[in-house]
Symmetry: C2
Subunit: 322 residues, 2 copies
Amino acid sequence: MAGVPRRVTIREVAVDSGLSIATVSRALTGSRPVGPEIAQRAQESAARLGYRTDSIGRSLRTQRTNTLGLVIPDIANPFFPSLVQAVERAARDQNLSVLIADAANDPGVEQAALRSLIDHRVDAVLISPSHLTASRAAITESMAAVPLVQIDRVIDNSLPYVRANQSRPVQQLVSHLRARGRRHFAFIAQPDTIATSFERESAFRELMTDVPLRVVSAETSAGSGRGAVRELMSRWPEIDAVICANDLLGVGALRELRTLGRAEVAVSGYDDTLIAEALGLTSVRQPVDELAVAAISAVLTPDMAATRRELECAVIFRESTG
Amino acid sequence: MAGVPRRVTIREVAVDSGLSIATVSRALTGSRPVGPEIAQRAQESAARLGYRTDSIGRSLRTQRTNTLGLVIPDIANPFFPSLVQAVERAARDQNLSVLIADAANDPGVEQAALRSLIDHRVDAVLISPSHLTASRAAITESMAAVPLVQIDRVIDNSLPYVRANQSRPVQQLVSHLRARGRRHFAFIAQPDTIATSFERESAFRELMTDVPLRVVSAETSAGSGRGAVRELMSRWPEIDAVICANDLLGVGALRELRTLGRAEVAVSGYDDTLIAEALGLTSVRQPVDELAVAAISAVLTPDMAATRRELECAVIFRESTG
DNA sequence: TTGAAAGCGCTAACAG
DNA sequence: CTGTTAGCGCTTTCAA
C-alpha cells in the first residue's frame, strides 16, 4: 500500500497540551471526570493536531472492538441487503461497527467467515445460517469464542435467536385468497435446507390437509420459478393461486403464467424486495429493522444466552393477488 | 456481551512447547527460518491448545490490519451487492478481509463511514462515491490518511480509479437497435449526480445530435421509471426504443409500456441485475470481478497513486429488445 | 537458529 | 482531580 503520514498519538497530544497521557485519555473519552479547563485544553490540542483515537491500541487494552460480525447466507439474495442495512443502522445507533461476511450459500465459506470474524475479535456475531444442518458445526464451534445470535433464519431453537414468524403470513395469504374465491392452491418451494423457507412450506402443507396438496420444489431464481409454474399448471390446470417461497420465484411465476395465458392466477412472493413492489407482486415484509434492533440489544445484554424473540411479518397485498 | 473464555495467547504456547515466544511466533508465521523439529513442536502446541493469533496484538505491532474498507453508495441498489461479492472474493484471494460501509446515498453518512473505516485502521479504502460533487471533500480528506481508490463510480479523474467504460454500451445498444429498425430513441436518466449515470446519459445525448433528443429524469426506482415512460409516450408517441439508466427503471418502463399497450417498444436497463434476467430485460453487465481484482491489486502496489484503469462492459441482449 | 527485551497506542489501577 | 506506571498480545530488533 502507498505511504501515508504517521498518525498523531495520544502522547503527542499530551506533550502539546502539557498534560499527562492519562488525563488526555480521560478528557477525550470521558471515562472519568477532569477539570473543565483541563478538558478544554486536551480537546483543543487533540483537535488542532488532528488526533483520532487508534482503535487498535484501544482494543488491545480494553479487549473490545466495538464491532459486530454479521454473517449472511447470500448477499445476492435480495432480502439480505435489506437486513444488512437494518443491522448497520441499528449498530450505528449503538456506536458499533459491522463486519459483514457473505457465506455465498456455502457452509464451508460460512465456517471460514466465522473464524475470520472471531480472529478479528468482533464483540459478537449475528448469523443467518446458510444451511439447516450443515451450518450447525461452525455455529457451535463459534459460540465457544464469541456471543452469537441467530437472526432471521434459525436452525437451532436451543441457541439464542431473533426471528420472524414465517407461518402466519402464509396462513393470512391463504385465507385472504380463499375469501376472494380462490380454491386451488399451489406452493413453489425453495430447498428445505433454508430454515425460513422450510417453515413457509410447512405452514402451507398444514393448511392443505383437507384439500389436494400441490407443492413443487425450485431453486432460488426466477428461471426456476418459471419451470415450477410450467410443471404445476400441466399437472394441475385447475390451480388459481400460487404461493412462492420468495420474490424471485414469484417473478418467474408471474412471467410464466402470462406466457401460458394464465395471468388470472393469483401469485404471491416473499420478502417484499424491490422487485415485488416494482411488479405489483403481493409479498411478505419481514420486520428487518426490528429484527436488527432486537438482535443487537440481545448481544449487548449479559443474559443474551436466553434470547428467544419472535416478531411478526406483514403481508403486503398488491395487484398480483387482485 | 456474554462471558466468553479467555483466549490462548502465544505466551502459553511458548510455555507449553518449552520454546521462546519469539520462536513460536516465527514458527507460526514463517517470518524467519526455524529448525524443523522446533517448528513441529510449536505448531503442535498451538494446535493442541487451540491457539489463534490475536489480530489486534499483531496489528498494533505491525501497523497493518489486513483489512480493506469498501464504501458503497447504496446497498439497496441491486448492483452493489454484486460489487460487494466481487470485492470479497478478490480480497479473500489476497488474505484480506473487507469492512463494508453503506453510505445510504447520503454524503454525510459517507463521510462518517470513511472516518469510521480509517479509525478502524483499514489498510486501504475502495469507494464508489455516492455523489458527483458532494463526496469530494470526504474523499480528499480520507486520502491524507489511507490509500484510496475509486471503484466503478469516479468523480475525480485526478485521483486513482478503476472504472468501466459507460459510454460504449450505450453506443452499442443504440446501433444494435438501429440495425433492427428502431428509429425513435428515448432515455430515462437517474440524477446526474451519480457518476456512472451521468456518463450513460452523456453518451446517449452525444448519439442524438442529429435527431430529436428525448431525455427524461427519474429517481432510482421502478415507480419512477413508470412515470417517466408515461411522460415520454405522451410527449413523443413515436418512440420505439427506451434506454434506461438502470434496471429498476427498465422494469418500471417495461411494465408501464405494457399497461399502455405499447409493449412493442424496445427497452433496455443497465447493470444486469437478477431482475433483468428474470424479466428478459436487455441490460449491460459491468465487469465486477475484474473491477474488484484491479482495485485490490491497485491498492496493494506501491505506486497505486498512478492507477487509472478502464475496463469494458458487455451488453446482454434479451427479449425486451427482441 | 534461538532467546531476551523493547515497544506498537492505549486505558486502568494505583498513588498522590 | 491528576500523574505514573503496568501491560493488553504480538513481532522484531538486538545479542548470543
